[in-house]
């Protein structure tokens, strides 16, 4: 992706950001609140159209008219505000937008049996035992929902998986589970874009790190090239943080 720009009315959310992901790596996107991370990945996943700039996918320039195009191209996204419908069952949510179909007498029907089986199976793989595939998503805990969303993205053979702050509301155990999932997915050859505010989470799984600040990239670093402290300073935009950290023991 090159020089993506995005304006909302008088707000310039992205002022030219370039970024790339490779298969089998986890590229972390870091940055302050309002840096434009969510906006950027929404552009990648076809929710917004870029005001300027181009998206290349497997070498070809792409134009995503809507999220369906991006999904069809193999870009799966787990949005910050979850893309789940609370009143619908887990299996219907799992297959939302990608419903399996079965032909009966020439008419295509939703293949509920298949959907249910796959859902229960995939969720078990992720370590979640559903009461049943008909359970409403609204009755799941936040962590469980997050897992459904990730499992869904992985299941549909995404080539690129984008996760927007998947861990921010999760407990330690749930977090480590999500990180383990990212690791597993990456090893399957999927490119992962991982967005986080938490330097430690990022360092735990990231291969490369890009920091966004006020709609611009501050640069990309490889794993090992950068220390947690440097990264943290970059994310915060410089020295201002230091004095505070001093009094609190540097443990943010």
């Amino acid at each position: 992706m090159r020089n993506i720009e995005k304006h909302f009315g008088s707000v310039i959310a992205l002022a030219g950001v370039s970024f790339d992901v490779r298969a089998g790596e986890c590229h972390c996107l870091l940055g302050d609140n309002g840096a434009g991370k969510s906006t950027f990945i929404k552009t990648m996943s076809g929710v917004h159209k870029p005001t300027a700039g181009e998206i290349y996918f497997e070498g070809k320039p792409m134009h995503f008219e809507d999220p369906r195009d991006a999904i069809a191209a193999g870009i799966a996204t787990v949005h910050q505000h979850l893309a789940m419908i609370p009143l619908m069952s887990v299996s219907r949510n799992f297959f939302m937008g990608n419903e399996p179909e079965r032909k009966v007498a020439g008419i295509r029907f939703f293949d509920k049996k298949h959907a249910d089986a796959v859902t229960v199976d995939e969720m078990r793989k992720m370590g979640i035992n559903l009461r049943g595939p008909d359970q409403a998503v609204g009755t799941l805990s936040g962590g469980e929902r997050q897992t459904v969303a990730i499992a869904r993205a992985v299941h549909f053979g995404a080539k690129i998986l984008i996760l927007d702050e998947p861990t921010s509301a999760l407990g330690v155990r749930q977090t480590s589970n999500v990180l383990a999932t990212i690791d597993r997915v990456r090893k399957q050859g999927v490119g992962v874009v991982f967005i986080s505010h938490n330097v430690r989470h990022a360092l735990a799984v990231g291969d490369r790190f890009t920091v966004l600040n006020r709609g611009k990239t501050l640069g990309t670093a490889k794993r090992g090239e950068i220390s947690p402290e440097e990264l943290q300073d970059l994310m915060a935009g410089g020295q201002e943080l230091a004095q505070l950290e001093g009094s609190l023991g540097g443990t943010v």
């Binding site: 505000h81 893309a83 295509r108 370590g127 979640i128 155990r173």
Partner: protein
């Protein structure tokens, strides 16, 4: 997630087990089923000898219920998709009037008039939907505007063209038309004649129809109602598109992000609602032979009431076509039943209001008890 790392999850000790029976009850139709049973029990007890359950009486409330069903199915799918349509009643009046104007005033063949009207009305439905989707305005306001606009035209057009607000004579021009019986005819006539001849149902005692059965066939209205229920139910629960309808109503933004073409779904549902209203109108015009400017008044509310009694959420994302059909049945049976039971007709509205309130509270209560939601 709490059992994430354990390969075999033990049951969560913090949740009391929910029995399979209770689980079977967690359906949007439940309120409708309970209501239907209650209503029939009530009228069987109190109006059994009023002729309500003779073949003629049954046909009477069946036809009324079928009418409600036709508009309720459209309203139900639209409501599940997260919108609603206050212009249904005006659309009924408008569609009927257009058919009459095309066929009687302009002398078109009736099939052409019907088809043109369908195209026109479904297009208006699409406009409704487009405005809602494009501007993001609440459908309450947009369709309220169309309620007035369509009713205005329904009064204005015949007034200018024919100088009256009622246009009759459709029956005459529909004579021999191939499409008209699809809406205005009856089926199984032979079967009912046979029933009558064998004394299984009453027959007329005098007049031109002496000897013929009092009920001489199933009106196409009922056939349409059943077709629409089946179509709506299958569409909603058995197809991909049905999943999209739920998703669009449950959370439009989330659905859009998951690749569901929300705008398309909503516009199509507005068109389907318009289609149902037009079916209603065509059946009415073909049966009665005339179109009036007063047709369909308040029908939008009746449709919404039936759907809500049937357990759908006004806010979208939850509901069922079967439920809506049961809601329509309850509505029709109560309305006609009150007449059969001889209740003072001005009290009809009071009953209607009380039943609506009771049904909705019952629905919510059942839903909460069962799902354990607060």
């Amino acid at each position: 997630m709490s059992n994430a790392t354990q390969p075999t999850a033990e049951p969560d000790e913090r949740v009391k087990e929910i029995s399979a029976f209770r689980k079977a009850l967690i359906r949007p139709e439940l309120g409708g089923i309970v209501g239907t049973v209650a209503v029939f029990t009530f009228f069987l007890l109190f109006a059994a000898d009023s002729g309500m359950f003779t073949s003629q009486g049954v046909m009477n409330w069946s036809v009324v219920s079928a009418q409600f069903v036709i508009i309720a199915v459209g309203a139900c799918l639209l409501m599940i998709a997260g919108e609603f349509d206050l212009s249904v009643g005006s659309m009924i009046g408008f569609a009927g009037m257009m058919i009459a104007i095309f066929s009687v005033s302009y002398g078109w063949p009736v099939w052409a008039a019907i088809l043109t009207t369908f195209v026109l009305c479904v297009a208006i439905g699409a406009v409704n939907g487009l405005i809602v989707v494009r501007t993001g305005l609440p459908s309450f306001i947009v369709t309220l505007a169309f309620l007035f606009i369509l009713r205005g035209f329904t009064i204005f057009l015949p007034q200018t063209i024919e100088r009256k607000t009622i246009i009759g004579g459709v029956t005459d021009v529909a004579e021999g038309d191939w499409l008209a019986p699809v809406f205005g005819g009856k089926i199984f006539k032979g079967f009912f004649t046979w029933l009558g001849e064998n004394g299984l149902i009453e027959t007329f005692e005098r007049g031109t129809n002496t000897g013929k059965p009092v009920v001489d066939g199933i009106p196409m209205l009922i056939v349409w109602a059943i077709l629409l229920i089946v179509f709506g139910h299958v569409l909603l629960t058995k197809t991909k598109f049905g999943n999209w309808i739920f998703a669009s109503g449950g959370d439009a933004e989330a659905a859009r992000n998951s690749g569901v073409p929300v705008s398309k779904v909503k516009i199509l549902m507005f068109m389907f609602t318009a289609f149902c209203a037009t079916v209603f109108a065509v059946c009415q015009v073909m049966e009665f032979g005339s179109a009036g400017a007063d047709r369909g008044l308040l029908k939008e509310f009746e449709a919404i009431i039936a759907v809500v009694i049937g357990g759908a959420l006004l806010t979208g994302g939850y509901g069922s076509v079967i439920g809506a059909a049961l809601g329509a049945l309850i509505f029709g049976v109560v309305q006609q039943g009150l007449f059969f039971a001889g209740v003072e007709s001005s009290l009809f509205r009071v009953f209607l209001g009380v039943i609506l309130l009771g049904a909705v509270i019952l629905n919510t209560y059942i839903r909460r008890i069962i799902t354990g939601e607060r």
